[in-house]
């Protein structure tokens, strides 16, 4: 069974008197433990798609089914709960809380859920180890480098053992070396934690870490690469063909 299903998703925005079609009927299915990258030029609708998949926004029509639940039928509180327990987010700008330590930032979804520390202490230590920040657990964000901050953000995304992790340009704010480390971490997390990851990116090198690459153009899926086709060379070729 698919972890996430997107059915005929349409999203229109109004900009003054104009109606802008961000997504024009997208169908998509993400399988468990899959690592999917979404690529496309600016304005192609990739971030909109990610927001809709995470329940951050509501579609104009169509449906997103996450863990068997159609998101459009859920109330705001139910959506919040889904985000807290079933989804993990990784943002381009990390969005860590500067007054909290790395460990506290990672544990934040659990704190928000009111879970006692006993319930997640082991998981927290495991994640700190996984992201290589055991020795930086008590550091505040401004005492960490960009790459380290993003690793904290990734660990935070995994703390609740989510059904799916949605990453929006996770390497967009990092240098190549830190970016590669983050992508390797995402790959390793998928393998070790059995997670499903969907990543939006501009970067073909980042996309090459995924098992499947979906190309969006003008709000529609223009091409999909999968089954061992996600090499950098193939991705570059598709980009060139699609003028992405």
């Amino acid at each position: 069974m698919a972890t996430l299903e997107v059915i005929q998703l349409i999203k229109q925005y109004r900009m003054g008197n104009l109606s802008v079609d961000a997504l024009r009927g997208v169908d998509l299915s993400i399988q468990a433990e899959e690592f999917v990258a979404i690529m496309g030029p600016s304005g192609s609708g990739k971030s909109t798609l990610l927001h809709l998949m995470g329940g951050l926004d509501a579609p104009t029509s169509g449906e997103v089914i996450l863990a068997g639940k159609p998101l459009s039928r859920l109330s705001d509180n139910e959506l919040t709960r889904i985000r807290r327990l079933k989804v993990g987010f990784v943002f381009q700008f990390y969005n860590l809380i500067p007054t909290l330590t790395a460990a506290e930032n990672i544990a934040l979804p659990m704190l928000i859920d009111g879970a006692p520390i006993g319930r997640y202490r082991e998981r927290l230590e495991e994640l700190l180890r996984l992201v290589g920040l055991s020795d930086r657990a008590q550091h505040k964000p401004d005492q960490l480098s960009g790459g380290q901050q993003q690793r904290v953000a990734i660990a935070r995304a995994f703390i609740n053992q989510p059904e799916i992790v949605l990453a929006d340009e996770p390497t967009g704010n990092l240098d190549t070396r830190s970016g590669s480390a983050i992508l390797e971490l995402l790959q390793r997390s998928r393998a070790e934690l059995g997670a499903t990851i969907v990543m939006v990116t501009h970067d073909p090198r980042a996309a090459s870490y995924a098992q499947r690459v979906i190309f969006l153009r003008d709000g529609k899926i223009a091409k999909t690469l999968g089954g061992g086709e996600t090499s950098l060379k193939n991705i570059m070729a598709v980009m060139e063909a699609l003028e992405v």
Binding site: F91, N95, T99, P109, D142, N160
Partner: protein, 870 residues
């Protein structure tokens, strides 16, 4: 337009910012409005009250340039002096006046006591003037609302409309006056508007002819005063007027004295002095808090626009342009705020004057707005706005273009040492200025206010050092109340130490005002109550219209239920020049209170101060010849200590009286000395009783005894009889009224403090939009966001409370100390938990109410917009 006039760029950008951030613009403007309004209102109140009092004096004493009065208060003038004075060259009109204080038989007033001149006036009496109905309107202002002036021989009276309304009287009714020989009826033939002579004795006044007044009070052909109007040419030249006064003095000899009319009113400005000091001080504090608010708003506005200004700098805006942009914004807001503040100030002044009229005998007749007051307050508003904006403007000028590229704003944890060092220096200077340096009396008000100001400012400047500690100390409460959101919210206050410090400072100053005023009120009230309980003692108090014979004390002692009676005689005495010259205000008269020490001590006791801790020895010393107790006010005014001599004019010539103890006494504004009846008889050749304190037996009720005395002697001796309960309630009631004024100003402080918290929280929410968006995206509900912001506000409220309580305690003590120095009363500091509890409620309440709008705003944030927010 901008292409042609590039120098307009900063103005254009500034205007753009003001209109785009309308909420912040309104908050800043409101801060300026409140600051300006308070300064102007206080100025107007001071000026209007003083002008009104001067006007009152002028109208009441009238157009008379000189007064002829008896040599001593107890004496009278011979009626033939009127013609004699009239005959002196240069005198135009000589109008006689007989002045008597009595009680009304129409029913006594509900208010037995009145606040007067920083002291307590224990009974409310009616003042009857006997005048020449033809001559008096030439020297004083009579504004008849209805009716006419009394006839020369008729038993008629004009009274004030105010008095008539209070006692349900109208034209044609009789005014019943108690005299030594019973009740006299005077027909009301005229009612006066609340102007001119109608403001004498706060409207409890009536005017009849001299002859009638003399008849009903059996004065014979005696007068109390002659108002003298002189030639306009002499009146306009002080030198000539002084010559005429000297001429009159010379001719009068022992028959009387010539004085300037103001002599009778010298107590009034002094009486207002304490209020003026208080008002002025609080206006400074209000400006201080207002300045915080403005600084807070501007610095936040700069913080919020750091990237934007960085971008301007990156594309070529100079530092000067950035500075100009912020200062232009400030000027514009200052101007708008100051103009609106001027209007609000006039409105606030009306309220303050209404409050003032409740406890001052002379209410302000009109609001006096001078150009100077307007310019001063508006100038202060604009200057404070510009100064408050200067630091943020400099900060804006120093923003690096790199800020435009920065992804995330950095935590601002650094506290510049120069700031907290300045704070510590101010604290020490303020403390030393208040407690250790002896200032000359003429600068004491200024130095006292400055010292307290320095203490407050110092407290604000060292706050950044304490924020982390305060947060650690108080974080448990938000956690307990709001759970994990509480922990998150509480930690948020450490993000920007300077911003949190400013908000806590706003709250702290508000709380300090509440605690300071509460402490002074409580201490002063408790001391007056203590004095009322001790010095007045007794269960029933009896006052007589005329001095009663000594034997009346024995008569009262025989009334059933009376356990003890203590007689008192009041006599105004003159100081010999040797003592009078020691007074900085050249005061030369005091109230001599004669008591029988033994009887007095059976009922009450004196409140001794300044080392006079051995009451037994003090009382023994008073029994010796020419020994007196003096009040703390007299001791301070005349620089006297125990063992010194005070020189008085007695009927047996100039005599030295030894000060054997110093007491706290609130009667007659504290200008009292206490001696024995023996000294009264020997040196002043006086006797009799003006007031009696009665102790009832345990089995009888004071009400019954009072009633019994009323039946037996009330009408015969025209007595005013009150139980202790009525009197004390009256004292409490006037005290409460007296301090209402400061409550109004405290409220202004609380409003400003609330605005400060709203401002900070709104800014925190705006600045953290992306973060709040992220929290929402990872599963925080709207409700949890609301709780987090409320917790953050609660944390600031509790921090402000802890700091405010500590400093409020210190400032409360400083206020009491200042009160002692400025009023000369010796009031002991007393702790009361009430203002602290009120402060706690206000701090928590303000923090939560102020957080409602920002938390709502945070909860409503659109997640996607928020996470994309830069």
């Amino acid at each position: 337009m901008l292409a042609r006039l590039p120098w307009l760029l900063p103005l254009s950008l500034g205007l753009h910012n003001l209109s785009n951030r309308l909420g912040r613009t309104l908050l800043t403007t409101l801060g300026v409005i409140l600051g300006v309004a308070v300064v102007l209102a206080v100025d107007i109140t001071n000026l209007s009250t003083l002008a009104s009092i001067n006007q009152t004096l002028e109208r009441a004493v009238g157009k008379a340039e000189l007064l002829v009065v008896p040599r001593a208060e107890e004496e009278t003038l011979a009626a033939e002096l009127v013609e004699w004075v009239q005959a002196v060259p240069g005198v135009n009109v000589a109008a006689p006046d007989v002045r008597l204080r009595t009680f009304l038989a129409n029913g006594s007033s509900d208010t037995p006591a009145r606040w007067s001149g920083g002291g307590v006036q224990l009974s409310r009496r009616f003042e009857l003037h006997g005048i020449n109905p033809e001559l008096d309107p030439l020297v004083r202002l009579y504004e008849l609302e209805s009716g006419r002036m009394p006839n020369e021989r008729g038993y008629e009276v004009v009274t004030t409309q105010k008095h008539a309304q209070e006692h349900n009287l109208s034209l044609g009714d009789d005014l019943l006056l108690t005299t030594s020989y019973g009740v006299e009826r005077l027909e009301i033939v005229g009612l006066l508007r609340d102007e001119g002579v109608a403001v004498i004795n706060n409207g409890d006044v009536g005017f009849t002819s001299v002859q009638v007044a003399q008849e009903i009070f059996s004065l014979g052909a005696e007068l109390h005063e002659i108002s003298v109007q002189v030639d306009p040419e002499i009146a306009s030249q002080p030198g000539k007027l002084a010559d005429l006064k000297a001429e009159l003095e010379l001719r009068l000899g022992e028959a009387g004295r010539a004085v300037y009319p103001a002599a009778r009113g010298d107590v009034v400005p002094r009486m207002l002095n304490a209020y003026q000091i208080g008002l002025s001080f609080f206006s400074i504090i209000a400006v201080f808090v207002g300045a915080f608010l403005i600084y807070n708003t501007f610095s936040m506005s700069i913080a919020e626009r750091t990237r934007e200004i960085g971008m301007y700098r990156a594309i070529g805006m100079s530092r000067l342009q950035a500075l100009t942009m912020v200062l232009l914004e400030a000027s514009l807001l200052g101007l708008i705020g100051a103009s609106l503040g001027a209007l609000a100030g006039i409105w606030l002044a009306r309220g303050l004057l209404v409050v003032l009229s409740g406890f001052l005998a002379e209410a302000a007749q009109q609001i006096l707005v001078t150009r100077v007051s307007l310019l001063k307050s508006m100038g202060a508003g604009i200057a404070v706005t510009l100064l408050s904006a200067l630091l943020p403007a400099l900060h804006a000028a120093n923003i690096s273009p790199l800020e435009a590229l920065r992804v995330q704003s950095r935590l601002s944890q650094r506290v510049r040492p120069v700031i907290w060092l300045a704070g510590i220096t101010m604290l020490f200077t303020g403390y030393a200025g208040l407690y250790y340096i002896k200032w000359r009396s003429e600068v004491r008000v200024l130095t006292g206010s400055t010292s307290i100001f320095l203490l407050l400012f110092g407290a604000v400047l060292i706050l950044p050092l304490l924020v982390v500690w305060l947060e650690r100390t108080s974080r448990w409460l938000p956690r307990v109340v709001y759970g994990s959101e509480g922990a998150l919210g509480s930690s948020n206050v450490r993000r920007s130490i300077s911003r949190t410090s400013l908000t806590i400072a706003c709250l702290m100053v508000s709380l300090v005002m509440i605690i300071g005023i509460g402490t002074v009120t409580y201490t002063f009230e408790a001391d007056i109550q203590h004095w009322v309980n001790s010095a007045l003692g007794g269960d029933v108090f009896v006052s007589a219209v005329d001095t009663l014979p000594d034997s009346f004390t024995n008569q009262l002692s025989s009334v059933p239920g009376v356990a003890a009676v203590s007689p008192t005689r009041y006599l105004e005495v003159h100081l010999a020049s040797a003592s009078a010259e020691r007074s900085e205000s050249r005061r030369d008269r005091l109230l001599f209170i004669a008591i029988e020490p033994e009887a007095f001590r059976r009922i009450g006791d004196m409140v001794f101060t300044r080392g006079g801790q051995n009451p037994q020895a003090n009382w023994q010393a008073l029994e010796t010849d020419r020994a007196v107790f003096i009040s703390t006010v007299v001791a301070t005014e005349f620089h006297l200590q125990t063992g010194d001599n005070i020189t008085l004019l007695t009927r047996r010539g100039v005599q030295d009286f030894q000060v054997t103890a110093i007491t706290t006494d609130f009667s007659n504004q504290g200008y009292v000395i206490t001696g024995t009846y023996e000294n009264l008889r020997r040196w002043f050749i006086e006797s009799g009783v003006d007031r009696l304190s009665i102790l009832t037996t345990p089995e009888s009720s004071p009400q019954t005894v009072a009633k019994d005395i009323e039946i037996r002697y009330g009408e015969r001796h025209n007595l005013d009889i009150q139980t202790a309960e009525t009197l004390k309630n009256g004292v409490t009631s006037v005290m409460d009224q007296a301090f209402q004024l400061f409550d109004v100003l405290t409220l202004v402080g609380v409003v400003i403090g609330t605005l400060g918290v709203i401002n900070t929280l709104t800014m925190n929410v705006i600045e953290r939009q992306r973060e709040i968006g992220a929290l929402r995206s990872i599963g925080m509900t709207r409700y949890q966001v609301v709780r987090m912001v409320l917790a953050e506000s609660l944390a600031m409220g509790v921090m402000g409370l802890i700091y405010g309580l500590g400093f409020g305690y210190l400032i409360g003590k400083a206020f009491v100390f200042g009160l002692n120095v400025l009023s000369s009363y010796e009031v002991d500091y007393l702790f009361t938990p009430q203002p602290y509890l009120v402060s706690a409620l206000i701090a928590v309440g303000v923090s939560q109410v102020a957080a409602i709008a920002p938390s709502w705003r945070a909860a409503r944030l659109n997640i996607i917009e928020a996470i994309q927010h830069e």
